[in-house]
Amino acid sequence: MKKSKVDIKEYSDVWVIGELIDGNISPVTLQLINVGKKLANKLNKNTIVVIVGYGEKDRVTKLLNYGVDKVLYIEHKILRNFNVMGYTEAIYKLIEERKPEIVLFGATSMARDIAPRLAAKLDTGLTSDCIKLDIDERDGKLLRTKQGLGGNLITTTICPRNRPQMSTLIPNIYRPANYNEKIFGQVEIINPEILCEDYKVKFIKKIPLEDKKVNLADAKIIVSGGRGLGEPSGFKLIRQLADTLGGIVGASRAAVEAGWIDSRHQVGKTGTIVRPDLYIACGISGAFQHQSGIYDSKCIIAINKDPYAPIFKICDFGIVGDLYEVIPALIEEINKKQQRYFDNFP
């Protein structure tokens, strides 16, 4: 398993492992291309996107419009549906053959399955869930920055001796790459030899979410409720405020554990890490596990009847008061504002 010393000079270029979702280029892939190009520019190397799949050539070709130097499209019938060992093996072979210096993934469920396996197969270091990627100007090494220990520690790691340097990046931190009519790269199709048709895990079917998708990660406005609601019906009020603002409902773990709301609504370290423009926390004390999931919100508003609740230390605006009085008042004020807007409309 252990490789003899690698010659790091043999490794070059920045690879982005892209994903198609229902045939479309996933948003995080475009964000990764943007980051990858920045890193590649600093190193004076190429940015290459690698996509695995079957029968998607036309869609894959569109990636060239985002300013990448090359698209490597690994195509095989067995790889039509996501398959952990098949994807790992196909990408592994290509990495061994072409020797990229840096390999980036989005922190998606696909990457969580294959990136660690690839790192183990390649005997190299992987840092997952990064929030920032950069190049050390002194020696050209990849600097991988992530939050640790529930958000109260920021760590930057390097992978000095092994190659490639691998990392997964949390979605929606970087902007997507710009679309460009002019293209300069090309698509190269790779047909890997994959012998083992049966990787033991068989895909039977997809089970969709029962109700509307709770897309907390991409929400611009989130209104969250906590144990301070006191009872499950409190979420009706939370939803009312969210609807008034065109936002999505979030929750603290305490509210989820009380059984008041489905766990998909949980915000925080063990729920979803969110970064909306507006985050409104109602009846949430602000435990650090909750805080670490909301740090990157542009504006945090806290409503709590305890003036000493920790949430007030990290909010932008705070209101001390009973949420059952404050929220209806807020809804009324917002409606009034919108009414005025319509009144002034010619």
């Binding site: 952990v84 766990s263 209101i319 917002i334």
Partner: protein, 266 residues
Amino acid sequence: MRRIIVCIKQVPETDKIGIKQEKGTLIRENIENIMNPYDKNALEEALIIKDKFDAEVIVITMGPPQAVDVLKEAISMGADEGVLINDEAFSGSDTLATSKVLAAAINKIADYSIIFCGQKAIDGGTAQVGPQIAELLNLPQVTNVKDIKIKGNKLEIVKATEDGAYLLETETPILLTTTTEINNPRSPTMMGINKAYGENGNKRISILSGKDLNINPKEVGLEGSPTNIYDFCMSKKSKTSEMIEGNKAKEKASILINKLSELNYI
């Protein structure tokens, strides 16, 4: 189902963890340690299978000598045996080095049907160890499992994903990582506590060193870890919170909404 191996990690409970300046590794002294909460779901699932199919459940941990506590806790919940993998040479291991050690131990235990890991470790873990063990043992894996049905020698598994779930069918041996949705971990029983902490409790624990596992010390610990810490800092969000003053809820609400509207948030 013959033998089920569960990987459990001892993690510091509080958030008062620091970092050793000179080496960049975690300081763990004087901090209370607990079983990684996610690993309790993994253990519970193994125990559910044990109850139904009479499988043997072995818990393993790599850590300092005091990590034996989590093995005993697991035995008091119903596990049969515990294996502590301990060696000075392991300290400072990153996820890959850790996975190599655990994979070597699992190889030695052998004859397993399922290996369970938790979803992730709360002390800065990022859910890498499970898949890496699977890779090193050349086993298939399913991560984020939220339901398991055993049908003969096949497993029907529901895997949680971003946009719903997948229904999968697999064979053993396999490595699975669990979500917190999958079950509610049980508490220790009196009988279990006796089993773990009673007179013969220590007989249920074995200790393996690097030598027992034929591990080259250069491949593990700080030296064998491809990932090194370069820099770290405590993240202090320096924010000036503005408290909205006013007499009644209505007045406060009106001030806040005006501010948000001025700032173009609504």
